[in-house]
């Protein structure tokens, strides 16, 4: 395998909060190759966004937030960089699209101005050239009257339009990696389809890698090459999209797949996962899923499983899969 574009190596993130330490991300390791689409799925609060933000250097500064492990871009550890050295990477090498386009854009600046900013900062274009480029970018994301839209303010546009604008901003400096953090959650299905389409086209056109964060398995199936399943701050399973959907190994992944009603395939009851996600303030030292796991054994309440390869392309972190347990 060639040198990955991005590599998370035992990343852990802790927040100091009023109620105690929140262990948002623990020991997360995975890599993204150039041009690859990786999806991170998991329930709310399992650390998806925090993982992505750690890559952008957008987490709050210490002591509110403590980082461990490494995040490497082209083999250079980003976490060791001073903030000033990190800044030029943002927006140029790595770009990010957020969940709520409405609040992600500045309400007092026009869309065009916001679109020009990275061009002026990273590509040192003249304002006039940046404006031209901004128009071109809007056209590229399928906006019909780019001049008019560039001159308008976020509140004048619909959610779908704004998400297109966000995408235009993200791709403006031809990043090598685009992080899309639940880019369509706030949108209607029909608009979601448009945005996913667009995302796919852009990726194909520019060859950038995509880190797609979502809780919707349908989107994962449509968009990703590889999937990372997270639960309570840890990676519980990772593998190619086919591996994950065809033979999920981890009971959590299995549960997730089974708990969605599938159109046209109606069951009397869904296979719900009982219980609830543990609070990041009170994570157990053993497998965090043990309490909800239908297959849990006594050992699960004592040990923390680690990721193990179950096939050349797939890994899962479950004691049930470990060889010694099987023995």
């Amino acid at each position: 395998m060639s040198q990955p574009l991005i590599e998370f190596d035992r990343l852990s993130v802790q927040f100091a909060t009023e109620q105690g330490v929140a262990r948002a991300v623990q020991d997360v390791s995975f890599a993204i190759q150039a041009g690859e689409s990786v999806a991170v799925v998991g329930e709310s609060g399992c650390g998806k966004s925090v993982t992505a933000l750690s890559l952008m250097g957008l987490l709050p500064p210490a002591p509110a937030c403590r980082l461990g492990g490494e995040v490497r871009l082209d083999a250079a550890n980003l976490l060791a960089l001073p903030p000033a050295a990190w800044r030029p990477l943002r927006g140029r090498d790595i770009a990010m699209v957020f969940q709520e386009p409405m609040s992600a854009l500045n309400p007092v600046l026009s869309v065009g101005e916001q679109l020009m900013e990275p061009l002026l900062t990273h590509r040192q274009l003249s304002p006039a050239a940046a404006w031209q480029q901004a128009i071109a970018l809007l056209q590229q994301v399928g906006i019909a009257r780019p001049e008019a839209i560039a001159a308008s303010y976020p509140h004048q546009l619909s959610g779908g339009m704004l998400q297109r604008v966000m995408l235009a901003i993200a791709i403006s400096c031809q990043p090598r990696l685009l992080i899309a953090d639940e880019p369509t959650t706030a949108l209607d299905v029909t608009i979601q389809a448009q945005i996913l389409d667009l995302l796919r086209r852009l990726q194909q056109a520019s060859g950038m890698a995509l880190l797609l964060i979502t809780h919707d398995l349908g989107i994962v199936a449509e968009m990703a090459d590889r999937v990372v399943v997270m639960y309570a701050g840890r990676v519980v399973e990772t593998g190619s999209v086919r591996d994950i959907f065809r033979h999920p190994q981890h009971p959590y992944t299995q549960g997730l797949l089974a708990s969605r009603p599938v159109p046209g395939r109606r069951l009397a009851r869904l296979a719900a996962i009982p219980g609830q996600v543990p609070s990041p303030l009170a994570l157990p030292d053993h497998c965090a899923f043990a309490e909800r796991c239908p297959h849990a054994r006594p050992a699960c309440l004592h040990r923390q499983p680690v990721l193990q390869a179950t096939s050349p392309t797939q890994q899962a972190a479950c004691l049930l899969l470990s060889t010694e347990e099987a023995a």
Binding site: D188, G218, I219, E222
Partner: protein, 322 residues
Amino acid sequence: MSDDTLLAVNGLVKHFPLHGGVLGRQTGAVRAVDDVSFVVRRGRSLGLVGESGSGKTTVGRTVLGLHQKDAGEVRFAGHDLHALDKAALRRLRPQLQLVFQDPLGSLNPRLRVGDAIGEALLAHGLCPREALRERVLAVMASCGLGEEHYSRYPHEFSGGQRQRVGIARALALQPALIVADEPVSALDVSIQAQIINLFADLKQQGVSFLFISHDLAVVEHLCEDVAVMYLGQIVEQGSREQVFGQPRHPYTRALLSAIPVADPDARRERVVLQGEPPSPANPPAGCRFHTRCPQATAQCASVVPVVHRVAAGHQVRCHLMA
């Protein structure tokens, strides 16, 4: 209309006035609900689907009498709901309940959940004070909540548990109809399934639902009848099999095809609708869908389509059905 009709909505219209000008006079209206008719039968559930802003919530609230209607009729169990006086409406309340989308927001943060569930029972004299706790615990149990939850505050629950509390509160009054407005959209995937199962159980016990959702899969899972809304109007309604099996309206089809399928090999061609829904304050003339319809004709832009019955119980509001 047969005997088993629980709720009949006929030609319902609800406009929200828009004010403007120097003197603040009414200058227009958001036509949130425009001529909507449907029926919910006893023991069955109607799923109301549609995109954001299509008027689903407004329908639900007008049905509950929380908004004054502008035209049409809402008959619930034989009563004309909007013609009732305050006291009569209050007496009817237990029959007709609501479950909200945001479970935290729908619970008073300063009230123990046991009290929240029980207070309406007391208020309606449905249960003597001495028996209240038992009764509440029973309802809570049927929603998967234990005795230990009785005297906790809403903030001490997880999202799914809160939604259970919300459902238990509605259920305690033994309603005939529950309007559930996107009851699972705010929940995590694994929790969603728990709540969906709970609804399925309740249906077993004979409660009817007006189930509002933008999630077609959930509606298909739970509802026998389905109505699809677009810009304040129902564009297609029928049984689950009709609407999901043989969708006739181009919008329904587009909607169905837009759902991402959790199967990496099922990468199919789909109808991607262009553009976005117009504003309900200024809906397009003719067929409201014609601006986005892949099959629109010149007629669609000018003539308002009527409702066509394409099969027994299957109605479509589209010129193509003519």
